[in-house]
């Protein structure tokens, strides 16, 4: 497959933006500026980007608790996300969602999700909408290796196959279900999905090109009425389950070695297909990302908190017939 420079720069920029966004969030979290839990996506960037580059605003994704990368790759506004992580009034969810519920219907982003395995039935519903309207759109659920064991995922695989929904099960196998090593061998998750009858492949989740090409096929299949597909992208979780988890349950050497060998950005830039990328242009992209984050963080941290009356807003469109 040939890649245009434009595609390569876009892939690099989005992966790097996710990386730097999260490193910045991590720093702010450690300074006590962000409430709640945040879950780092580092070293899985190639999966979100390789997958979402095939999707438009009217294609849908359902994300996970480790969702910042998916949100950015699907086009959520960076400042609006920063405001939400700081739980501010102007946040993408008006400060009521926080890190684990970032959503943007206008971008087809149906929400990060704090329930492990919560997203796939919702993504199946979005795929049902696409099937009913016959509009050629597709829906994708991101699913961790932990979530792959949930009943909701099994139910969604079955429903998607039975109804031949235009859906992609995008597994991210980072080997850890919270603090517990997932005992399944790589590829087992895809095998399970395949057992429902759909095409299922396993790829290196730190290889942008491998993800991009596998998802490309799956998305095309969905758009053309060929039903659901599953992709298991094997990755490595760089940081702990949530920020603050020191991963004492992991072997130090294994951790360090997987951190190096699974870095998608290093791998991407070292790939022959990227040999024509201009280093000054890469530096410009990096600088622009820092400018974007600096401005966004400054605005987010100084922005107004929600006013108390917001507590009562947006539970319903209209509960007692009052106008919305």
């Amino acid at each position: 497959m040939n890649y245009s420079l434009e595609t390569l720069y876009e892939a690099y920029r989005t992966m790097k933006l996710i990386r730097e966004f999260e490193e910045r969030m991590r720093a702010e979290y450690q300074r006590g500026k962000l409430p709640g839990f945040i879950h780092m996506y580092r070293n899985q960037e190639a999966i979100a980007v390789g997958a979402c580059m095939h999707l438009g605003n009217e294609d849908y994704i359902a994300s996970t608790h480790r969702g910042h990368g998916h949100c950015i790759a699907k086009g959520c506004d960076i400042e609006d996300m920063l405001l939400e992580l700081a739980c501010k009034q102007e946040g993408i969810c008006k400060g009521k969602g926080g890190s684990m519920h970032i959503a943007d219907m206008s971008k087809g982003m149906l929400g990060a999700n704090a329930i492990v395995g919560g997203g796939p039935p919702i993504a199946a519903g979005a795929a049902l909408t696409a099937r009913t309207l016959g509009n050629g759109k597709v829906s994708m659920a991101f699913i961790g290796d932990g979530a792959s064991d949930q009943g909701t995922v099994a139910e969604s695989l079955n429903l998607a196959f039975v109804l031949q929904l235009p859906m992609i099960f995008m597994y991210e196998n980072n080997h850890y279900a919270e603090f517990t090593r997932n005992p399944k061998p790589d590829g087992r998750i895809a095998e399970r999905a395949g057992a429902y009858g759909m095409p299922a492949v396993t790829v290196d989740g730190s290889d942008f090109f491998a993800v991009y090409e596998a998802v490309g096929e799956a998305v095309q299949r969905g758009r053309e009425g060929g039903g659901p597909s599953a992709i298991e992208a094997v990755a490595s979780r760089y940081y702990g389950h949530f920020e603050g988890d020191a991963q004492q349950y992991r072997d130090g050497e294994e951790l360090e070695s997987s951190r190096r060998s699974y870095d998608p950005l290093t791998k991407f830039l070292a790939d022959d297909r990227c040999s024509d990328l201009d280093s000054s242009k890469i530096k410009q992209i990096d600088d622009d990302i820092q400018d974007l984050l600096n401005a966004g963080v400054e605005r987010a941290l100084s922005a107004a908190d929600p006013t108390p009356d917001q507590l009562y807003k947006d539970v319903y469109v209209s509960y007692r017939g009052e106008s919305a």
Partner: protein, 327 residues
């Protein structure tokens, strides 16, 4: 006007709403089945009329049914999903409680989830502990969803049309023991706003607030007690969330006495909720203690003998009314 049953009213409304708005789809277990149209035939004929892209048979996987209905609602359809028996709520509660109910709030008011979940409730058919519960108090306790429980065909039609056209998630509770109850229903389509109780019969001595099938029993009790000179006013809230507090309080202001009748278990129930509202907002109107008539704190037994013991009876309701009337 035609005299039709609740079952027919629901079928007719589904047909009308699917004709009116092509975003309306019906999904669930056996709903497209041409021979039966579901366990009680509620969706009979819909698949023939609207096709299998809009009347969708699903596997027996309630989380996927309810979750997918929510996801479809979030992305532009108006699904009517069937949760065959409300007892199956346990299988799929996360998708309703943590996902559908919270989408709008946790996404900052930028998501709309116009989904209707039809479900069968209630004892009286010998269907045993896992097919006979009421359970709607669990749902009334969850912010972000509305809960409806009609007691007659007229209300069923208007409330279901409202549920399907409503932009919020609605759970529509159909008592399986009253599906065949008939009344006069307009042939044309209409909606009934949520949060507006119906006064079933007017009276001056005792107010009875009753829900779903219990409205019928309360009406029978009211008729019987009229002969004894006790004038009973029966209020059917029709929607449990939102609940028409005003109508209940207005009636009690007139009567000073209240009996609440609900087939759900007694703790944290509609009966306890109404009692709480009356004590908090209508204490000064009361001339007698509130009486609750509910099912006991037990599962629903399969034995017809025990089930009869479980479900509140007309005699129990009459006795409670006499008691507060005489206080």
């Amino acid at each position: 006007m035609s005299k039709i049953s609740i079952r027919e009213a629901i079928n007719q409304t589904l047909r009308e709403e699917m004709t009116r708005d092509e975003r309306v789809v019906v999904m669930g277990e056996d709903v497209a089945n041409r021979e039966s149209g579901g366990v009680y035939g509620i969706t009979a004929g819909l698949a023939d009329e609207f096709g299998e892209l809009r009347v969708i048979d699903t596997p027996i996987t309630e989380s996927a049914i309810i979750g997918a209905a929510g996801g479809a609602a979030l992305t532009g359809l108006r699904p009517v999903a069937e949760l065959m028996f409300i007892d199956f709520l346990g299988v799929c509660l996360d998708q309703l409680m943590n996902q559908i109910a919270k989408f709008r709030y946790m996404f900052g008011g930028r998501a709309t989830t116009p989904v209707t979940i039809r479900t069968m409730i209630g004892a009286g058919a010998g269907t045993g502990p896992q097919h006979s519960a009421i359970l709607y108090p669990l749902l009334v306790a969850i912010p972000g969803i509305k809960v409806v429980a009609p007691s007659n065909a007229y209300d069923a039609k208007g409330l279901l049309a409202q549920a399907i056209r409503d932009d919020d998630p609605v759970v529509f509770c159909e008592h399986k023991a009253i599906y065949t109850e008939e009344c006069e229903v307009p042939d044309e389509s209409y909606t009934i706003p949520f949060g507006q109780a119906r006064t079933v019969c007017e009276g001056t001595d005792v107010t009875v607030v009753a829900f779903s099938r219990m409205v019928l029993l309360a009406g029978q009790a009211a008729n019987a007690l009229a002969a004894e000179g006790i004038s009973v006013e029966v209020i059917d809230p029709r929607t449990l969330s939102p609940l028409d507090d005003e109508a209940i309080l207005a009636s009690i202001r007139k009567t000073g006495r209240v009996v609440v009748v609900d087939e759900s278990n007694p703790y944290c129930s509609m009966a306890s909720e109404v009692s709480s509202i009356v004590v908090e907002k209508g204490f000064d109107y009361l001339d007698a203690p509130i009486r609750k008539v509910t099912a006991p704190h037990t599962p629903v037994p399969a034995s017809p003998v025990l089930e009869k013991e479980y479900v509140p009876s007309v005699a129990e309701i009459e006795s409670a009314i006499r008691e507060v009337a005489a206080y």
